[in-house]
Symmetry: C2
Subunit: 274 residues, 2 copies
């Protein structure tokens, strides 16, 4: 591996969930200490800080915001559609306040056994959100989740499906997020990354460890698992994405360690394995 | 739901892993008590009983054997290929001794990060096994596993991929197993079931509970989860499969209960939800 094949450190973005033990202010300070230029904040942490304060903290830090996580969860009962839409519009506005033009969409589970109907509600929910997002200058990034989350987090479970949904809209408005943890197993992965050319709005990285201790918070640091990280990164870059690379390692054990220690490991693993 | 839409109870097969607390002899006795006509034995239980004794117990019971679980695990180091092949040939012979013509293949994980190479080894391993299986009158049923098992159990993770692999061979020799737990999340599920017409060698049923307590042994009894069981069964039948329906509920809690109690629940849930 020659140096030129390594991604520049200035593409590293710390997705905040990796250090969920930290407040937004602590994440910002930690990134400044570690020389990390980008962050990917989560909504629960922004709400905890308060939006205005969060936006000011980010602005004053000089850090760039790679994306805002998250809107979505479109399948709801009919009488809840309006409320969910309004909440997603607020997420768009918060993204703007934080200084990013990418809102990550986790599309949500079905409300009943009819997963096909839920998938239609996702398309309808995005269609309803696009005008507000476009007016705000925010792109919507559909993140397919691993099929093990089909029952509780997202009925969008493959990159191909996410691209199909996105293709209902202009690529100026709706794209996809490629997270290696969610897509690495896909027999059609490289064809689908190529097909997503011009639609990729984010690239998220962690690793799949064997064994995987739990469904939700059992991800590994890069290098601890079986994912061909460099091959996938090369494919994503060949598909035209050269933006920030979010390190999103949802791992219960990391949350029990010091944030600085985790961030230091993130930086060294990024250099070594991404 | 009219009576005619329910599957006949004489299609119910008890996959042995559902009552892993039972020996093969106990499973046979339990099925006779409960009026279940079919069983799907697992290899570790047959080895525990001894092959000759296992074959005799099954024969004398009058029970029919829907499939034998399992051969496969094809990706190995080069010097282990012969040993693995011989072991798979033995699994074919054991299937014959037990009186079934279907050997379920769980294809195995990759030995390193090169999942594509592992997928080639699966095709090569099946190609090597086909002549022995054909001579023995045994069909090989490729079971795609849920993508959450891509790292430790199977690099074959979608029904479409399994059908693609099977299509390298005659449908007299190689087919696929449709297990709802492994495939329910797939956006292309119904198209892929249709494409598998003439290749379906088995239909396995359980349910996906929300939340799912663990990756391996967290399946639910039919009706406890979110899978559209009847819709999938109808699709599998429309694709030409009318054989036994194996109830394969890998669930740690069920293993701690009495086998008769579990089997009784299996029968009533089969009638109610499959």
């Amino acid at each position: 591996m020659s140096i030129s094949e390594m991604p520049s450190l200035d593409r590293l973005s710390l997705n905040q969930i990796t250090v969920d033990q930290w407040s937004l202010e602590q994440v910002i300070d930690g990134c400044l200490r570690a020389g990390v230029d980008w962050i990917g904040p989560w909504r629960h942490k922004v709400q905890e800080a308060g939006l205005n304060r969060a936006a000011r903290l980010v602005r004053e830090s000089g850090l760039k915001v790679s994306s805002y996580c998250r809107g979505g969860f479109f399948p709801v009962l009919e009488h809840e559609i309006g409320t969910r839409h309004e909440d997603n519009c607020r997420a768009v506005d918060e993204a703007v306040a934080l200084g990013t033009d990418v809102l990550v969409l986790v599309c949500g589970p079905s409300i009943d056994k009819d997963i096909e109907a839920a998938r239609h509600m996702v398309v309808e929910g995005i269609a309803a959100l696009v005008p507000h997002a476009r007016a705000a200058g925010v792109k919507l990034g559909i993140e397919p989740l691993h099929p093990m989350f089909a029952g509780d987090r997202s009925v969008v479970v493959t990159l191909g499906q996410a691209t199909d949904v996105a293709s209902n809209f202009s690529s100026d408005d709706v794209g996809v997020i490629v997270d290696v943890y969610h897509v690495w197993w896909d027999p059609n992965l490289y064809e689908e990354i190529e097909r997503a050319t011009g639609r990729i709005l984010g690239f998220h990285v962690s690793d799949w460890t064997v064994p995987t201790p739990e469904l939700l918070a059992g991800r590994g640091l890069m290098g601890d698992g079986v994912i061909e990280l460099r091959r996938i990164r090369a494919a994503v870059e060949a598909a035209g994405y050269g933006g920030p690379i979010e390190i999103e390692v949802i791992n219960r054990d990391l949350w029990s360690r010091s944030g600085d220690e985790v961030l230091s490991a993130v930086v060294s693993r990024f250099t070594e394995h991404v």
